[in-house]
């Protein structure tokens, strides 16, 4: 866009072209003096890592089998092994379930809280502070605190029993049907503030005019909510969902510190299974093949996510115009 603007400037003021040329050259120099160290650094760290990963996924190697550079070439055998491994399949299913469930949970909770709070009221600031606290708790701390609280006669069950007056005794961490949802609840507890913050910012930034106009026209709150607020919030909603989903796919500290994949394999998600394969079984090669598959999967998901986010951002730019989008480009 800057190019277009600069070109336009050229047309208007041809006499500056000499200066413009040197200016453009300077900008280019400026650009590369910023980007080249970044690219060099990424190349320095990421290329060898990706190369090693590829090497290991095509060669059969574990620590017991001599030096890694002498490992046997096995072609795509490892990928075949991983893709036909039901344990890997289940881990993927669990990861997806975990990510989906916790994303939706975080979003609904965060949105509800934000909706109740976006108009000023007494105590708003205090609630805000309390609500963001869970996000400021380190995930490992969440895991260990959860362990302190979630045993069967622990404070959570005990408190609920006292409040509702009926014996409430789920075995949060040891019942294989409940264990994964328990971690999900922890994730929701931990990251609802994230959705809450984004949705609160989104709700408060909606311009008042369309809502007021709708009110004057006699629209019900319900209709205003669905037909005015939600469409305006779409980009923010997508953002909250996508970021949360990606982070939840990668969630490791809580699941690992709390349950290490157990009971049985009830909480063995993809990161946990890769960790076990690589750092407990020391099947470096199989772990590398798994990592590659997961990486490809995640790149695809991220690319789709980026596409959605970009589209939403462009809609936003058209709705709000360039003014609100900041002074992007050199033209404004």
């Amino acid at each position: 866009m800057s190019v277009a603007v600069v070109a336009a400037a050229d047309d208007v003021q041809p006499r500056l072209s000499m200066r413009e040329v040197s200016r453009r050259r300077a900008i280019k120099r400026f650009k590369w003096s910023i980007l080249s160290p970044l690219i060099a650094l990424m190349g320095f760290v990421l290329l060898p890592v990706l190369f090693l990963q590829l090497y290991f996924s095509l060669h059969q190697w574990t620590v017991y089998l001599g030096s890694w550079w002498d490992a046997d070439w096995v072609g795509l055998d490892l990928f075949k092994e991983v893709l036909t491994d039901p344990r890997f399949g289940w881990a993927a299913v669990r990861s997806l379930m975990f990510a989906t469930g916790s994303t939706i949970g975080c979003f609904l909770m965060g949105f509800a809280l934000a909706y109740l709070m976006y108009k000023p009221f007494r105590g708003q600031a205090l609630y805000y502070i309390i609500f963001i606290l869970p996000m400021l708790t380190v995930p490992v701390v969440v895991a260990y605190t959860a362990e302190m609280m979630l045993y069967q006669s622990g404070p959570i069950n005990d408190a609920i029993t006292r409040i509702i007056g009926i014996e409430f005794k789920p075995a949060w961490l040891t019942n294989p049907h409940i264990a994964l949802p328990t971690v999900m609840l922890l994730e929701i507890w931990n990251w609802t503030p994230f959705s809450f913050i984004i949705m609160l910012a989104g709700l408060s930034s909606i311009p008042k005019e369309p809502i007021e106009a709708a009110e004057i026209l006699g629209a019900s709150k319900w209709r205003i909510f669905w037909e005015v607020q939600i469409p305006l919030l779409r980009p923010v909603i997508f953002l909250a969902l996508i970021l949360r989903f990606l982070e939840a796919m990668a969630e490791f500290p809580k699941t690992w510190a709390l349950l290490q994949g157990g009971p049985g394999t009830a909480t063995e998600t993809l990161p946990v299974y890769i960790f076990i394969t690589t750092w407990q079984y020391f099947q470096i090669s199989k772990g590398a093949a798994m990592s590659y598959i997961v990486m490809v999967m995640m790149v695809v998901i991220v690319l789709i996510a980026i596409r959605i986010l970009r589209q939403e951002k462009q809609t936003l730019d058209t709705v709000y115009g360039n003014k609100a989008a900041g002074n992007s480009g050199s033209g404004s």
Binding site: K31, M117, T137, V138, V140, Y144, W189, P253, A324, A325
Partner: protein, 291 residues
Amino acid sequence: MIKSQRRRATSIVRYIVLSLWAVIAFFPIYWMVSTSFKPDTQWFTWPPVYFPDPPTLDNYLNVWFGAEQYAATQYSISSQKPLISLGNSAIIASTSTLLAVLFGSVIAYGVSRYKILSEVRMFQLLMLRMIPPIVIVAPLSLFYSALGLLDSMVGLILIYFLTSLPYAVWMTKSFIDEVPREIEQAAEILGASRWRTVFEIVLPLIRSGLVATFLFILILTWSEYLLALILTKTQVTTLPIELSKYQGSTEGRVYGRQAALAVGITVPLMIVGLIIRKHLARGFSFGMVRR
């Protein structure tokens, strides 16, 4: 009149719902703090003990200062004390964050003013953050061990720097976008170089934004677990890793000490978070929220 009644009802419902969630949000934190003040007979009991009776500072003295006879850490040597981990965490998190913010803000300036990265590239930069670290950590540790970066602060700083860069670029860009261009144009006409413009005009103008960005990213690097778990050994331990050592074996888990350590890890983060609470949305929203 009906309307005002309805409004009052709504307001009561709102307070009930919000207070309920406030309790849910706060209870685990309360439990952590209260456990850290409990004597060891009250950590794990049937039924649970809600208030430390009597409250004791033993856990803190023991964990942070190695006091008292129980002390798993009593004779511990060299790098293994939490205070040292605290130092490590502080140095690693703040250095990598500082680098990310400095470098990120320059990139952000370039993007904001000269579009040196297209929007697609900007989003692709986010991939650095969004690919789960577990998929690269094994080869990374081999590569690091070849370079001698394993178990060094430099190694962790480098990888934290790279993974927090996307947030730094996006967040500082949102601040730079708000700075009017006229001042820079004036400087440019006066013959100032672009670098001088960045460092002497633009960045000072968004000072508070840089601080917010710094603290925001500090939250993320401070709590990182997996990379620190695998890339460190003896010389360097960050606090979250230190915490996972407090699982007892023959004595049962030492919840009280663990909680005392957990409080120490969490409190700095909460302070930081509360300082920048107004800016959190900006950090997370990648330009999706317009003000």
